[in-house]
């Protein structure tokens, strides 16, 4: 049986990717940020997953206004890093896991989540920056990422975006799907984006350290309450692009201490999550960077 053993949460700021690609990680501006991920890179080696379900949002890269899926799961064999306007990032291709991805799609759609299935998608910084942060610099040709990745894209660009509650429930459905996959696989689920940031208008540059950390505390300790955070709170408190945080709730909802339905209540009560690592830093470009690793106990 496949099993989700850990969740990873991290911001996915494009400038972080650029800093890595241009060898700037030891500069004064960037050093404190990358220091916060030293633990994580070792942790990835010590806890190598067989597959990562990587929840991210596309930033007007693979999806134009022609078609905007609320939730899209990638079932392709591979994904090319996208040209976002500067040329593609010099990182390895992302290999998919069509079997598990199709299985999840099948199961989650039958649990009444109306996914879009995607077989062709270039992946932007939303997906590749978290991989770089957790796995370190990789040569685009000689190296590869440590394992296959299932891209799971959430619309947080054009309103209405899905609610935190919907995302949290989706996480539960994904865990249920993973646990019904026959093959023994160690699966990680990553929630990316956030934390507080606003990239537009007179309010650009908004950062809310207090709110971010209170939200993180609650997401760890009382995810059910955190999932109920109204949509407007994200925008008002964490900036218009802070809404990306709803994606973290998908990963959180997939942990074993959250019951996915009535049959799972007892089991969920018996589980707890362990905070393996937590890090917060301001700024990376316009953004507050948050990072968390949770392990299922």
């Amino acid at each position: 049986m496949a099993k989700i053993t850990a969740s990873v949460f991290t911001s996915h700021v494009p400038a972080i990717g650029a800093a890595m690609d241009l060898g700037k990680t030891q500069e004064d501006y960037w050093k404190p940020l990358f220091t916060g991920y030293e633990y994580s890179k070792q942790w990835m080696k010590d806890n190598k997953p067989d597959v990562i379900i990587l929840v991210f949002n596309d930033h007007a890269t693979a999806f134009s206004l022609d078609m905007i899926p609320t939730f899209a799961i990638g079932t392709a064999a591979e994904y090319t890093p996208a040209d976002e306007g500067f040329g593609p990032r010099p990182v390895p291709k992302v290999m998919g896991h069509p079997d598990l991805a199709s299985h999840i799609a099948h199961s989650v759609i039958q649990q009444d989540f109306d996914l879009t299935i995607v077989n062709k998608m270039d992946v932007d910084h939303g997906l590749t920056v978290p991989l770089s942060l957790m796995c370190g610099e990789k040569d685009p040709v000689k190296d590869s990422w440590p394992c296959p990745v299932i891209p799971f894209a959430v619309n947080v660009v054009q309103y209405p975006v899905p609610s935190g509650q919907r995302c949290f429930n989706l996480g539960k459905a994904i865990r249920k799907a993973v646990e019904s996959f026959d093959e023994d696989l160690n699966v990680h689920i990553w929630g990316t984006g956030g934390m507080s940031h606003q990239l537009q208008g007179a309010r650009a540059g908004l950062i809310n350290r207090e709110w971010d950390n209170a939200w993180l505390d609650q997401m760890i300790a009382d995810p059910v309450a955190c999932a109920a955070t109204p949509h407007i709170d994200y925008v008002r408190e964490a900036g218009s692009e802070g809404i990306e945080l709803v994606m973290w709730l998908i990963a959180r909802g997939a942990m074993s201490d959250v019951s996915y339905d009535a049959t799972d209540l007892e089991a969920a009560r018996a589980h707890s999550v362990r905070v393996a690592h937590r890090f917060y830093h301001v700024p990376a470009s316009n953004t507050a960077v948050g990072h968390l690793i949770l392990e299922n106990n």
Binding site: S64, Q200, L206, V282, P283
Partner: protein, 145 residues
């Protein structure tokens, strides 16, 4: 339409909803075209001619030519789409975001390094934070002499 849009009372913030999206359709699709290197070259060689290939309003074209991102957003642009124009001109996301505040690049960068813009006074229209309409432009870049 009687849909609840509680996000309209936040200062200095435009939420990209279906209404904005419709207004900005061609502006944003033009931006998407800049994801191809050959289109970036053509655009840079003659911006006006390239823009005239798109069903954009004259105001939208002018906002692009002026790199006036606040204006582009009010005309239906979305920042992730508009960022492709910045990328074409070699500008970073921080430079683009900063340009919307009236600050110089240095001022904006300094604000971010010292912890970013405070949310205090910036939650709702009518408070007195730095993002409120009556306090624009915020920095030296936007000051007329």
């Amino acid at each position: 339409m009687s849909l609840d849009k509680p996000y309209q009372d936040i200062p200095g913030t435009t939420i990209f909803d279906a209404e904005q999206s419709r207004k900005g359709y061609w502006l944003n699709q033009f931006c998407m075209s800049l994801m191809k290197a050959e289109n970036r070259e053509r655009f840079k060689a003659n911006q006006r001619a390239y823009l005239d290939e798109w069903a954009m309003s004259e105001e939208q074209k002018q906002a692009v030519l002026d790199m006036d991102l606040n204006r582009a957003i009010s005309l239906g642009g979305n920042i992730y789409f508009l960022a492709k124009i910045g990328a074409t001109h070699g500008r970073s996301f921080q430079q683009m975001a900063g340009s919307m505040t009236g600050m110089t690049e240095e001022e904006y960068r300094a604000m971010m390094i010292s912890g970013g813009r405070s949310v205090e006074g910036n939650r709702k229209l009518g408070e007195d934070g730095t993002a409120q309409p009556h306090r624009q432009p915020q920095g030296q870049a936007g000051k007329k002499d």
